[in-house]
Subunit: 459 residues, 2 copies
Amino acid sequence: MSDPIPAILKRIDADQPRALDRLMELLRIPSISTDPAHADDCETAADWLVAELTDLGFKASKRATPGHPMVVAHGGEGARHVLFYGHYDVQPVDPLRLWNRDPFDPAVEQTARGPVIRARGASDDKGQLMTFLEACRAWKAETGGLPCRLTILFEGEEESGSPSLVPFLKENADELRAEIALICDTGLFDDRVPAIITTLRGLLGEEVTITGPDRDLHSGMYGGPAMNPIRVLTRILGGLHDDQGRVQVPGFYDGVGEPPSQVKASWNNLGFSTEAFLGEVGLSHAAGEVGRSGLEQIWSRPTAEINGITGGYTGDGFKTVLPSKASAKVSFRLVGGQDPIRLRESFRDWVIAQMPPDCQVTFAEHGAAPASAMETESEVFVAAQSALTEEWGLPAAFIGGGGSIPIAGYFQSVLGMQSMLAGFAKDDDQIHSPNEKYDVESFRKGVRSWARILRKLAD
Amino acid sequence: MSDPIPAILKRIDADQPRALDRLMELLRIPSISTDPAHADDCETAADWLVAELTDLGFKASKRATPGHPMVVAHGGEGARHVLFYGHYDVQPVDPLRLWNRDPFDPAVEQTARGPVIRARGASDDKGQLMTFLEACRAWKAETGGLPCRLTILFEGEEESGSPSLVPFLKENADELRAEIALICDTGLFDDRVPAIITTLRGLLGEEVTITGPDRDLHSGMYGGPAMNPIRVLTRILGGLHDDQGRVQVPGFYDGVGEPPSQVKASWNNLGFSTEAFLGEVGLSHAAGEVGRSGLEQIWSRPTAEINGITGGYTGDGFKTVLPSKASAKVSFRLVGGQDPIRLRESFRDWVIAQMPPDCQVTFAEHGAAPASAMETESEVFVAAQSALTEEWGLPAAFIGGGGSIPIAGYFQSVLGMQSMLAGFAKDDDQIHSPNEKYDVESFRKGVRSWARILRKLAD
């Protein structure tokens, strides 16, 4: 067939106002997966996507899980079969007072850096998944069909540890297995350079609760002899890192390797400035392992972070209480061959070994996903790299990913399927934070990028 | 005059149902001083007390302060002039879910240990201050007047650091100065033995807030190079004590002495069981300084406690956030000659010296009161000791006080006036905790105890 791309790109640009309207509809649905109060909103978001996909000619359905539903759709024909993955759930919005507008009342705002779509989920991941659907819409409108055989999988639990994902993949393996998975949940490099992820850090989430006395006590009456669980918790978590920033859990670095020298060399050619990267958020010093570059600390080194801590009286004023309980949420970013299951045991043993008399500790698990590495020589990677280079006018980079997108690991382990991650988010999108946004330009060029990639996959 | 005590005690017992009704009225007023939302309730409690005192023949008035009002009343005649102090404000009630009833819907509940008055403030301090007013009521009803010249001072900010107290004492020194202050805000020893406090620990309250990045960050994108303020806070607070339970703030033990040997000897004669004391709250080991007895740890040794800590995501589920801020409320119980002002500076310097690059720390102060010691040879102490011994049938003990009742120190420093602290609370009253209670027997014998003490002061 003659190259439909020029007409498709033209149509994408002409149709953009309506594409933005469609994205706004999805953003208005407060599908916070980690908060049980928003379960119905997750259902609503799934229904909305089923209707959208059906309108695009897909055979689409909502699939129940023990948690929030999956959306699965099939469309197009041909020998080549690719799966596209995205997630419709979003992070909580607290602290709400730091938002400049209702997180679920999206709007296009003009900023010094150009127009942005402001809303929770605008970037992570509703805006990104819609880039693919809008690319399909333009293909269909221009050519009457889809460029190849496509399976769509949208998840509603990505922001809460994906508890239902692996069982669902196992139960529907034959239906979902494709040549490769395309995942749009990542960003540009340095806000300019189109990027394809070649490695992803894994994630282990743990919640630790320490109990001392069987009730809250008055520190005047009991202060001294009564053990304070906050004292125990801070003592243990305060020892999570040494002075060199290395994690102290025994065996933590087992399976952590070094990236290939050519990869490290390519990173050095990216001209990444740790100071500029941190400067964006009011910081100046790389606080990770001493002797590691900023990129290494994000892409190839594991971490331990305390994501939340609470205990005792935290309201206005002061209360001289010795609390009964204190708890913390701790997560580990994993690389290489680190085994999340073994590390969970090792972390728990390390905490338990530090319990003083009269203190009990309980743990809750919040996900465990290994790191993953991609086969960058494959046909699809090469095709995507050239398509992105054409759209963005800059050579697309193969980079590491600091975040955890466990789905890539699950596609590999459950379906034996590789993943290619390409996305258009920017470092200042403030995902997981107040005032999340997605650049209108990220959205526009994102749609155009997928159209070009589909063109090459259709060959 | 003939001894009115037998008739007064008879009347106290006969009038008890109405005395309980009056206490219930006061307990229904949610006068939480630390929470600005309850400012009006503090006014209401003060008005209620003014009305009660007026009904008892006192010249009573509510006195405005920059914070919650004071209640001052004068009554009776004679050469001997004593001041009675109590506080009408109460602690916050969180966590509310742990209460078995509305904290401000008081009721008498039958328990295995006898009837108790269940409500926030039942023991600390509304029930205790009412023991004195009911003793006055019985005196007046039986003799037509009060046994000596009495000044009453009720405060509404005792649970929130008493910010208005010292200025008020200074401005009204001549009106308030008496031979001695009687303070009813303490407890029985070992739930059985009437006790008079001879030493009180001081209290220093500090709030520490550490700021890292200028917004909450995603730990996937920034985990590693971005400094996490919870990591810094736990590192610092985790080092507050050494392995021997000694506080690590430089100069912390300056001015800390040992009690006189005869005092220590008398403590050993009290038959105090640390195991039994801690067993009441589900603990078994004295967690304070190694080598110090349980009584020393409560009465004669200083402490550092973390009363509250918060940072990052603390809701349901999990959020991989690197928070911008983390904070903690820390308090120190002081003994002997420890200088709270100097210790505040020392604590702040110690924290500031541990700040890594990219972290800022701010402090808020929540009170600073030195420890105090009483002149136990004075006439009033001897009189009270014999009166309490008569009422309770056990020799009244001179004991240390673990709690901080800064008012005693202020009466000394501002008015040059000694204080005598005697109270009827029990260790299991759960003051500052859910399900606070006051034994009906504590209330009954408390009223009778004050009647007997007033009799001896009247001589």
